[in-house]
Every structure is written in C-alpha cells, then in structure tokens.
C-alpha cells in the first residue's frame, strides 16, 4: 500500500513541477503551430474566415516573388553556413592552443558584433554602404570605380547581405569551436607529434574529426537562424531592388502585416515549420541518443 501511495505521490509531484512550463508551452507554442496549420487553409478577412483548402499553397507556388524568396533563402543558408563553419574552423584551429589571454581577445573581438545585435550592425553597414556618403562608396570613388551602389544593384546585393550576416554572426561559431577544441584530449596531439605530423596534418586528421558533433550543431543552429533572416533585409534593402533580396521571413511578414494576407502568410509559416523540423532531426536524434 505504502509503495503504491509513494508511486502516485511521485507522479503527482512530477507533473506539478512541469505544469507551469507545460501550460506556456501548449499555449504559446503548440497551439500556434496547430492554429497556423488551420489558418493556412483559410482565406481571412478580419473576422471572416472562409475555408479554401490548399488554395493558399497553390497561389504561393504561382507567385514569382515567393519563388524568389525561397531561392534567396536557400542561397543565404548555403553560403552563410559554409562561410561560417569554414572560417570558424580556421580561426578556432589556429588559436585554441595559444595562451589564454590571446584566445580570449580573439573570441571577444569576433563575438562583440553578435552582442551588439543585427539591428545595430545593419545600421552601421547601411551607413558604410550608403552610395552618397558611405565610407565604402568613398573608397570606390577614390580608386576610380565610379559611383558604388552595392545595395541597389541586383548582382551585388546578395553577396553583400551574405557578407554582412556572416561577419556579424561568425563569433558564436568561433566560441563553440574553441571550447570543443580545448576539450580534445591532449595525448592525441602528443601522439601525432611523436609521429612527426605537422600542424596542418594534426588539424586535418585529428582536430576537425574530433569536433564533428560541434560542426553538426553549429550547422543546424546557423541554418535555422539564417532561415528566418529578417532584420538585415528590412534595414538594408527592404527586399529590393525589385524584390531581388526578398527572403521567406520578409515575405511572410509583408503578407501578414502589410498586405493583410493572413492565410498566405500562415502557409509560408507552415512551409518554414516543416523545413525547420526536417533540419532539426539529426540534432534531436543526437540529444535523445545522448540520454
């Protein structure tokens, strides 16, 4: 009897402890997801909702701007993630075994832009890139390249956004890599040294494989962060010129809060939700396995 009572008590206590988090989780995460899926099948006009089945999705796939947004988002994800992982690996592998002061200096100087936020960094870059009186335009003129309007030009606007986002956010990946590399057992390096391996071989054969789980983690959090890229678009280009830098998140926001197309916006949200879910599977699996 006593044991049974204890068992029930333990169960009740357990549920009481998770209750507050559970309520917020259900109300502000699970419910919005379900509601978003429902809304994506409706045409919504203020209080009027009319069921339209998959019409919103059909019209999305007939909208060239949506395709542009999808393509741009994919381009951003691919280039920014590759640049971030590549550069962070390069930085971390070169500095992780140096003295602590130096490591902390490097870590700090690359992480400060992350801290001051994308909003502030976007504002600075918009000033630097301003065609009339930005520093970068000044250098361009100085070197005889004529007037420079990198953000107003269809061919340069994407590389610029890729660069700005990468330069602002790479610090996080650097911190994670340095921490992971410091944790690699020392005897591995000593063994390699005895075998006469040079630094490049040590990095390639020991260091990079040892931090592969960090690489997976960094890739996933960055893919998901870039997937919802918004601030830099709103502040630097407004999606322009002529929709050439529009992204999924920016498209969603405009449909929802500018054109009042809530059904369409929800459909974009659902598509992004599915993409996120698929992408996070490997990470989830490793968390569950680690238990």
């Amino acid at each position: 009897m006593k044991i049974r009572n204890n068992f029930i008590k333990e169960n009740i206590t357990g549920y009481l402890f998770i209750l507050p988090q559970m309520i917020v989780f259900l109300a502000f995460l699970v419910y919005p997801i379900l509601e978003g899926i429902r809304l994506s099948m409706y045409r919504i006009n203020y209080q009027n909702e009319r069921f339209v089945g998959l019409d919103n999705y059909v019209s999305l796939f007939n909208d060239p701007v949506f395709f542009k947004a999808l393509m741009n988002t994919v381009i951003f994800v691919v280039f920014i993630v590759i640049l971030t992982v590549g550069f962070a690996l390069f930085v971390a592998s070169a500095v992780f075994d140096k003295n602590a002061k130096y490591v902390s200096f490097i870590r700090g100087s690359y992480y400060i832009p992350v801290m001051v936020s994308m909003v502030v960094m976007s504002m600075i870059w918009s000033f630097l890139l301003n065609p009339a009186n930005g520093l970068i335009s000044y250098f361009a003129k100085d070197m005889g390249m004529g007037t420079f309007n990198l953000l107003g030009n269809k061919t340069t606007v994407l590389p610029i956004i890729i660069f700005v986002t990468f330069a602002t956010n790479v610090g996080q990946a650097i911190i994670l890599y340095i921490a992971a590399m410091i944790g690699v057992p020392k005897d591995l390096f000593e063994a390699a040294e005895i075998d006469g391996a040079n630094r490049w071989q040590v990095i390639r054969k020991i260091l990079i494989p040892s931090v592969s789980s960090t690489t997976v983690y960094i890739s996933i959090i960055n893919i998901i962060a870039v997937l919802k890229i918004f601030v830099v678009i709103q502040l630097l280009t407004g999606g322009g010129p002529n929709n050439s830098s529009v992204t999924l998140m920016y498209y969603l926001y405009n449909n929802a809060f500018k054109y009042n197309q809530l059904g369409t916006a929800s459909a974009v949200g659902v598509i992004m939700f599915v993409i996120t879910l698929v992408l996070s599977v490997p990470q989830l699996r490793s968390i569950i396995k680690a238990k």
Binding site: T13, F25, I106, G108, M123, N198, Y217, L252, G269
Partner: protein, 280 residues
C-alpha cells in the same frame, strides 16, 4: 627520454594563419569604431569626403537629440523589463521542469521531454500570424506580457538546466528526503544552489537573446512608447532627421548595454553556449 626539450617553434603556416586572424578581427571591429566616432561628429563632418578618421570636433549634441526627440530611455526600460521578466520566468519554470525530468520518476516523462526538446529549433517568428492572433484575443497587443510570454514557451531553459541537474548526485536528493525535507524544499534549498552556474549561464544567454530580439517585439509593441530599444532604434533609419551622426548615436545607445554585459560576463557566455551544444 628527452621529450621536454626546447619549446616548439611555431610553424610558418601557424604564424600566417594567426596574422590573418588578427587582421580580420581588427577589420571586424572597425564598423563599431566607425559607429562610435561618427556619433560624436557634427552633421556635416559625418558625411565629409575624405572622411575624418578621428573626429576633429567632438560633439555630444547627437546624444542630446536622441534623448530629447525619442523616448530612448523609455525604450531602454522596456527592453530591460521585457528581457528581465522573460528571463526570470524562463529560469523559474525551466528549472522546475528540468529538475522533474532529471530527478523525479513520473509516467510518460521521457515522451514529454522529447516533445519539449523537439521544439528547441522552432523559431517563434515563423508562427507569427497565429501567435499574434492569440495575443490579440488575450488583449495583449502593445503590452509587456504580449512580448514576454512567447519567449518563455521554448524549452531551451529546460534543456540547458537538465544537463546541470543530471550531473548532480542522486544521493543528495535521497538524503534530503530521508531527513524529512519535502520535494519543494529539496529543490529550492539543496538542488538549486548546486546548479547555480547553470542558472547564471542561462540568465545571461536568455537575457541577451530577448534583448536583441526584433521581429516579435516589432509586431507587439506598436505604440511609440511600447517599442523596445532595438525596435525603436531601427525606426531611426526611417526617421525624417537626415543626420547620419544622429542615427549612429541612436545605434550606439542600443549597442552599449550589451557591450558592457559581455565584458562583465564573458566567461558565462562560453560556459552557457557550450552547455547548449551536445557532445558525444
């Protein structure tokens, strides 16, 4: 064995790499230098070509203008309030749940935990339409609670703190129980103090994340007085005042609090972020 002979010389490859890295680090900080010095120039010097690399005349008038023309202090307070309360709630709810998942045996706990953490990667922004309608239904548009609650929903705190609770010995909890302490007392008096480093890391990470959040706060805080610092500062980009130095002063005001936090709590960032990453 004369292993410990002369200290190994750095290889050429290593020297070049580090030189490149330092160069990039300096270049990476340059925009911030330019931000700060530009904010101290007057409206004609800031757009002067060729530029003054260091302000010729210093002026604080841009800062005076920011605080006079914009409710910048109010924005800063809004940011502080929203980030602070969100973070406290994340810590309270998250630590309770994390403790239960780590130490208490209850039915379906593994399944519930997996459902919780599968939400980790889902950004709230993609559900912005239904979320906004919920906030509307609750009458929370233009309110702090409208900005705060969605930040508490994600299970990041649960995930991070569970790792810390898992590494505490079970015997500790059992001993407290035998001494007659109830579950709540065991949790608050014995277990929470042990995971303090985890709470610190979570506090910093979450605070900064909410502080630098943008889209959700943009949507919820529509009145000028309800904007947070990031959203309010971003409106300076569309401001009628064409003075670039004024905009840069606003951006500096937005940048400074987080710079200070980072310099003060640098080690927590490293420990918190790595606790979030999974190692095999």
């Amino acid at each position: 064995m004369t292993q410990v002979k002369n200290k190994k010389k750095m290889e050429k490859f290593d020297v070049i790499s580090n030189a490149v890295i330092i160069l990039f680090a300096v270049l990476n900080l340059f925009p911030l230098y330019w931000l700060f010095t530009s904010s101290l120039k007057n409206s004609s010097d800031v757009v002067k070509m060729p530029p003054d690399w260091w302000p010729k005349t210093f002026t604080l008038s841009n800062y005076v203008d920011i605080f006079r023309d914009q409710p910048a202090l109010r924005w800063a307070f809004n940011s502080l309030y929203v980030s602070g309360i969100s973070t406290i709630l994340v810590i309270v709810f998250g630590s309770m749940a994390a403790y239960a998942f780590s130490k208490i045996d209850f039915k379906f706990k593994n399944i519930i935990y997996i459902i919780f953490i599968s939400s980790l990667m889902i950004p709230k922004e993609i559900m912005i339409v239904p979320l906004f309608r919920i906030i509307q239904d609750f009458g929370m548009v233009n309110s702090y609670s409208g900005m705060i609650w969605p930040n508490v929903a994600a299970a990041f705190g649960v995930f991070l703190l569970k790792g810390f609770f898992d590494s505490t010995p079970n015997a500790l909890r059992e001993a407290a129980r035998i001494d007659g302490a109830g579950e709540w007392k065991t949790f608050t008096r014995i277990m929470l103090p042990i995971v303090k480093p985890g709470l610190g890391a979570l506090f910093i990470l979450n605070f900064v994340q909410v502080w630098n959040d943008y889209l959700w706060q943009l949507v919820v805080g529509q009145d000028k007085s309800m904007k947070t610092l990031m959203v309010g500062t971003a409106t300076l980009m569309q401001d009628l005042n064409p003075n670039f130095a004024y905009k840069m002063a606003g951006a500096t005001v937005a940048a400074i609090p987080m710079l200070i936090i980072f310099l003060l709590f640098q080690r927590y960032f490293t420990s918190g972020m790595t606790a979030g990453a999974v190692k095999e």
